[in-house]
């Protein structure tokens, strides 16, 4: 039987081994993240059928669950780890050619460890272990944002680090309070006992958790680091940060709210925060002239939308939110990867320098266009069914408030459509036919771009491929009792 612990341990071991491989040959280093993520993808796919029937609970050290750390590979965990492995694999193929300068060995190790941290966060069933993996994720992203070593990179890494460090301190305080209240760190055990103390003393750890995790998830008042960090990191890292890191943050927020605390009362607040995040993100994105900052702000908008969908907290709402996470991970990764080589070739981040790219780099521009259309939610791309599900979920919830909010969501989508169409117009219909020597991205970079395009199309046309997984994942989030029972028996 395949053990879910391998998803974390094998890439970790390979990451430790990279310096040793580096002694033999510098060329091997860059193929290791690729191998590790391929392994993870295969293991995740093998585990899906079993995880759908019942969450696989693995205890580490072989002691009974509340007394040791345990991993819970339910539908949610496996779904997320599969996405992480998929996007991680494609981006590491892209990075084979893209990362040439600076400390390349360090880059590959940190990149792999970032993905290990993300996988650990989604699989663990222990609250302090979640904190540790969260730190792995955060610290490696601080280092990777600063990887280029230029002014902008260092400055945004400093901002990111300070805000992230405050966030993780708050999480640690919340963990201390929870341990003091319940004497245990196991998520299921805490969830089982959460009703035994008064709600006010549980409320404080909850708020501290949401604030602390919200920094990484870029929920509205806490997202000041995001545009800087995402825009000044190397493009392959921006793709990972936008496509995976903030989604993992959202996962952690959802896990804390739905599973551990079962806090129905805070959902409305979350919903409003989501709308606010969405509108602010889209509005800021609209006024940007720097292409990577525009994409970063658009990520904030998308996070708002996901938060809105999760805040609806009906079965179809959560399904929509999870679907939107997948569609955002694929589309935003594609966008950043495509933009990466455009910037590399033109040497500028301004949108105006992209004029006429549709002729100079046809394949990359096509990829950008598809990613943009998918994010806006045009059929037949993956963004369409996910947005459709969210809107439908809000409408069938039959609350008058939701109708107003859904109008705001649509407003956000219109803004999004406006700025993405503007860029597509710049790409194809502007600029004279100059005889420039700009060539298209190399074939190694085009392979992952092409695969992402294909996935966006296929899932967009056959969304039913994912419904089984998504339904049981939403079930896991909403069914607290089932989760507790599956862990503690």
């Amino acid at each position: 039987m395949v053990n879910p612990v391998l998803l974390i341990v094998v890439p970790l071991g390979l990451a430790f081994a990279i310096p040793l491989f580096g002694f033999i040959s510098k060329r091997i280093e860059k193929y290791i993240p690729l191998t590790a993520m391929l392994f993870n993808l295969i293991v995740s796919l093998l585990l899906i059928p079993k995880a759908l029937q019942q969450p696989i609970v693995v205890s580490i050290g072989g002691f009974p669950p509340p007394f040791c750390i345990n991993l819970v590979a339910g539908p949610v965990g496996i779904l997320f780890s599969a996405i992480i492995a998929l996007v991680g694999l494609l981006v590491s193929v892209y990075a084979l050619d893209y990362i040439k300068q600076g400390a390349t060995g360090e880059y590959h190790i940190l990149y792999l460890l970032l993905l290990v941290g993300a996988t650990g966060v989604v699989l663990t069933g222990d609250i302090f272990n979640l904190f540790v993996f969260f730190e792995i994720l955060c610290i490696s992203s601080y280092a990777l944002v600063a990887h280029s070593g230029d002014k902008a990179g260092i400055e945004s890494a400093v901002k990111y680090l300070i805000q992230g460090a405050i966030g993780s301190s708050l999480i640690l305080i919340a963990i201390a309070l929870l341990y003091g209240l319940f004497g245990t760190l196991n998520m299921a055990d805490i969830a089982r006992n959460i009703d035994s103390v008064s709600s006010i003393s549980v409320f404080v750890p909850l708020v501290l958790f949401i604030t602390g995790l919200g920094v990484e998830a870029a929920i509205f008042p806490l997202n000041a680091w995001l545009p800087d960090a995402h825009s000044s990191a190397p493009s392959s890292i921006s793709a990972i940060l936008s496509g995976i890191a903030i989604e993992v943050g959202i996962y952690a927020v959802a896990r804390v709210i739905f599973t551990i605390f079962g806090a129905q009362s805070i959902l409305l607040f979350l919903l409003l925060l989501g709308i606010l995040t969405l509108l602010i993100g889209e509005m800021c994105a609209f006024s940007q002239r720097n292409i990577k900052r525009l994409l970063a702000y658009s990520s904030i908008g998308q996070i708002g939308l996901i938060l809105f969908a999760l805040g609806i907290a009906t079965h179809s709402g959560v399904v929509g939110g999870l679907f939107q996470i997948i569609s955002h991970a694929l589309s935003k990764a594609l966008l950043f990867l495509a933009v990466g080589y455009m910037i590399y070739r033109t040497g500028s981040l301004e949108i105006s320098t992209l004029e006429g790219m549709g002729r100079k780099m046809p394949l990359t521009s096509l990829a950008f266009t598809i990613g943009a259309f998918s994010l806006v939610g045009l059929p037949p791309f993956v963004g369409f069914p996910s947005k459709f599900l969210i809107v439908r979920a809000a409408l069938i919830a039959q609350e008058p408030l939701f109708v107003v909010l859904i109008a705001l969501v649509l407003l956000g989508t219109i803004i999004e459509g406006a700025y993405f169409l503007r860029i597509v117009q710049v790409l194809y219909f502007k600029g004279e036919k100059s005889n420039s020597k700009i060539e298209d991205a190399p074939i190694v970079a085009l392979i992952p771009i092409f695969i992402l395009m294909l996935l966006i199309l296929i899932i967009g046309i056959y969304p039913k491929l994912l419904t089984g997984v998504l339904n049981s994942a939403a079930g896991e989030f909403l069914n607290r009792v089932g989760y507790i029972k599956s862990v503690l028996g």
Binding site: I60, F63, Q101, G102, Y107, V116, A146, L185, V204
Partner: protein, 230 residues
């Protein structure tokens, strides 16, 4: 303005925490997990220092993550500080004779002490992290005493990697032999003897070497680059 807002914010946080803290009285045992470890720890792991058994065995996965965090920090620091400038050898003022001799005299003693701490981690207070930090402080002395003498970068890197790999491999061996990652599959031995506790001393020694070389590498990278950068 900023100051007032911050203080207000802190006040709200403080009030909230105090409201929760009323429910957590000081000095009263309130845990069930901790009680289980105290009651069963020696029997189940063969280790007399319960904190060690919790760190390495019951919550060993956290420790694996923690070792990884330190690994990331050491690497990230190297990546951030590495410049593409050429190495410029600046003349470093030599340390005074007293400092130099003192450091050379103390270095092996401190090293020995650090190693003692992490070898006996399962019997007495201390363990891999504490011992590793002490080993690193011995290298700090070397750095203070004679600045030209730098620690071999390849050596520290190799020790870091090997330490991490030993941890992972021992854990995987548990998975293969008994079906649980990090399972203590070796004979537990008699508590209070040096050779007891199964895999725990092995892992703690690996951690000790790893932490020591990582912290020494951090000091070296932060300070050593002075002579390179000019």
């Amino acid at each position: 303005m900023r100051r007032i807002i911050s203080i207000l914010l802190l006040g709200i946080v403080a009030l909230g925490i105090i409201l929760t803290l009323v429910k957590i009285p000081f000095g009263v045992s309130k845990t069930k997990v901790g009680k289980y470890y105290i009651d069963k720890g020696v029997e189940e792991t063969g280790v007399t220092n319960i904190v060690t058994s919790v760190v390495v065995n019951y919550r060993g996965f956290d420790t694996l993550g923690e070792v990884t965090v330190l690994f990331i920090a050491a690497l990230g620091l190297g990546a951030v500080l590495s410049t593409r400038k050429k190495k410029v050898k600046r003349k470093v003022e030599p340390a005074s004779l007293i400092l130099y001799t003192g450091c050379r005299f103390l270095f092996p003693l401190i090293l020995l002490f650090g190693v003692y701490i992490f070898i006996h981690g399962h019997l007495t207070p201390g363990g891999g992290f504490q011992g590793g930090a002490i080993v690193a402080s011995a290298f700090l002395l070397i750095y203070l005493g004679s600045r030209e003498r730098r620690i071999g970068e390849r050596g520290t890197k190799a020790i870091e990697s090997l330490g991490g790999l030993i941890f992972v491999v021992v854990g995987l061996a548990g998975l293969v032999i008994s079906g649980y990652f990090l399972r203590n599959f070796l004979p537990k031995g008699i508590p209070n003897l040096l050779f007891s506790g199964g895999i725990i001393p092995i892992i703690y020694i690996a951690i000790g070497f790893k932490v020591g070389s990582e912290l020494a590498g951090i000091i070296d990278n932060l300070g050593g680059a002075v002579s390179r950068l000019s």
